[in-house]
């Protein structure tokens, strides 16, 4: 049996963080995590109904990471992520309606039905990019702009999966960011699977972040992706580190995904029992909820109300998407080029 990987997790004081964040903001984060969870459940349902085409990559099980990241860092940065992008879009201000409408391929969608599930955008979200590792240089470029324009208190956040680590684009980006002192925060969300290949069968080192960071003369952090507070405290400190040192940081977040790689993946590489255990014992939302109840910020009934509220929002989004118009084929070939300024 393989030895369990030893991670040097980020140390944090949960009590202190709870006091610092406060009840209102904590409940807001719970609400957002439940929005993501409910959105993914409804999105998958819509996929099963044949309303959504293409691929569908669910963020279920990983909600605490990006929710805590935005809660701790604010949204006035640049963000880039993978095809598993619904959560980050929702967190960065994309409404459930426009996100769902994009999944449905409707003209009211986030990208007018051009991108679909893997390509969601916001004013500060550069995508939703679907070539594994290919988005990492893009995020590095956003960090370059921050430096070039001498913008203060800003960073570029780049979320990637563990599978991306094997890509050359990641190596080139880390080298450039470290070489040029770019304020980029690279976040490897290690959900232990690159599609159906276990991380240990694809990547030659464990832990990934702590080992790799040394090669690039970068600081690394390891966070517990199932724990909202580990992520919140971690991202708070990481952002501070990056904007004060103007150095990039490599973060590895240990997490789980509750679904297959995409919706068409039956997940035969893990047993039903394993998954059931995972979803029960290692659900970041359950864990967060328990802490909030223990601290007297939340009752079981209040939780149910928040959950229902978010569920209703997502069901309404399905209705909105369903009733929205398909893009008119007459608009085909439009929007390929950006308008030019008159010279």
């Amino acid at each position: 049996m393989k030895e369990k990987t030893h991670y040097n997790y980020f140390q944090f004081d949960q009590k202190k963080l709870i006091a610092e964040i406060g009840k209102e903001a904590l409940l807001d984060s719970l609400k957002k995590m439940l929005l993501i969870r409910n959105f993914e459940i409804r999105g998958e349902a819509a996929y099963q109904q044949g309303k959504v085409g293409g691929f569908y990559h669910s963020y279920m099980g990983q909600e605490a990471i990006q929710t805590a990241c935005i809660a701790a860092s604010g949204s006035d940065h640049w963000f880039t992520t993978t095809y598993r992008c619904h959560a980050l879009a929702l967190l960065l201000g994309v409404s459930p309606n426009e996100a769902m409408a994009e999944l449905y391929g409707k003209v009211t969608g986030n990208a007018m039905g051009r991108g679909g599930s893997m390509h969601l955008y916001a004013d500060r979200l550069l995508g939703g990019l679907a070539i594994v590792g290919g988005h990492v240089p893009i995020a590095t470029g956003a960090a370059f702009t921050i430096k070039y324009e001498k913008q203060k208190n800003m960073a570029s956040f780049c979320f990637m999966g563990d599978g991306a680590v094997a890509q050359g684009a990641v190596h080139e980006s880390l080298n450039l960011a470290s070489l040029w002192n770019l304020p980029c925060i690279y976040v490897i969300e290690n959900n232990k699977w690159g599609m159906g290949t276990a991380t240990s069968r694809a990547i030659c080192i464990e832990p990934i972040g702590e080992n790799m960071a040394r090669s690039y003369n970068m600081k690394s952090y390891t966070l517990d992706g199932l724990d909202f507070f580990s992520c919140y405290g971690g991202f708070k400190e990481i952002l501070h580190e990056v904007i004060t040192t103007n150095r990039p940081v490599l973060v590895e977040v240990i997490t789980q995904r509750f679904r297959g790689h995409s919706i068409s993946d039956p997940g035969l590489y893990r047993t039903k029992q394993e998954l059931a255990h995972l979803m029960e014992a290692e659900d970041p939302i359950n864990r967060f909820k328990s802490t909030l109840i223990e601290n007297g910020f939340l009752t079981e009934d209040e939780y149910k109300n928040i959950d229902k509220e978010q569920k209703d929002l997502c069901i309404a989004a399905m209705k909105f998407a369903d009733e929205s118009l398909d893009p008119d084929p007459i608009t085909l070939e439009e929007g390929v080029f950006a308008p030019e300024d008159s010279q």
């Binding site: 640049w78 550069l126 702009t145 450039l176």
Partner: protein, 326 residues
Amino acid sequence: MTKQTVEIREALRQAIDEEMTRDGKVFVLGEEVAEYNGAYKVTKGMLAKWGPERIIDTPIAENGFAGLAIGAAQTGLRPIVEFMSWNFSFVAADQLISNACKAHYMSGGRFSVPIVFRGPNGAAAQVSCQHSHCVEAIYGNLPGFYVIAPSNAYDAKGLLKSAIRSNNPVIFLENELDYGDKMEIPVEEYLVPIGKAKVVREGEHVTLISYSRMLKHCQAAADEMAKKGVKVEIIDLRTIKPLDIATVASSVRKTHRCVIVEEGHIFAGISAEVGFQIIEHCFDDLDAPLIRVCSKETPLPYAKGMEKETVPNKERILLALQEVLA
């Protein structure tokens, strides 16, 4: 109008310099562009003038720095990426193909990618199989790119300035063997619009279409034909995409015969596209089948004689002209 005589490399440099003066968001990055003064000296002296913040040497990491530049363009800057050779763009192909030309469309118009990728394209002097490819047919196949290939200093400067000001990704193709070509151009600022071909020699008997370095061979062939009383009309496409089919079609409607010359390979090349569009627009005007002169279907051989026979030359163009007029 005051005139100056400049090499193509200097015309390109002036274009970059003027646009950097005009817009602080314009910067150059690439291998050896700064301290080395550019592999082909296009950026000579620019580090001294603009400093390392805007003339940026990169590691040998095309995928990384091309992608970085695309990200910078999406977030408000106007990068000029120099590929030391367009052959090296293949290492960065994912960034060009999956990001640069798709980001605007894919984001529903939220982001644009104002970026110029430039450098020498095609064959040089015996640089062999991996350093001699023409990339225009590859990138021209992708919606979202402009593809520009000037043949002289005047167009090089004016088109590069337009490319830098464009809000879209531009593939800007130069030629290593032509960097030293001299031409008299205005000292005053001017632009050459993207998407306009030019009739560079008026004629009446046959239309000869090409771009970039091949124009030289076309001119030489047309000179020969003139001695026999054949008036060849030459069109320099200047911009390959969007293709100025109107200029092409009006010439073909006049001459009724056409030869297309392309340095790249014949299969699925630019000449195939231009030729097919001619058929779509002027089939009834043609008095003879179209003829293409392209590179032979082989990686470019190193041996000098073999190299010469692979790439189009004056003799092959002359044969084609004679055949189309027969």
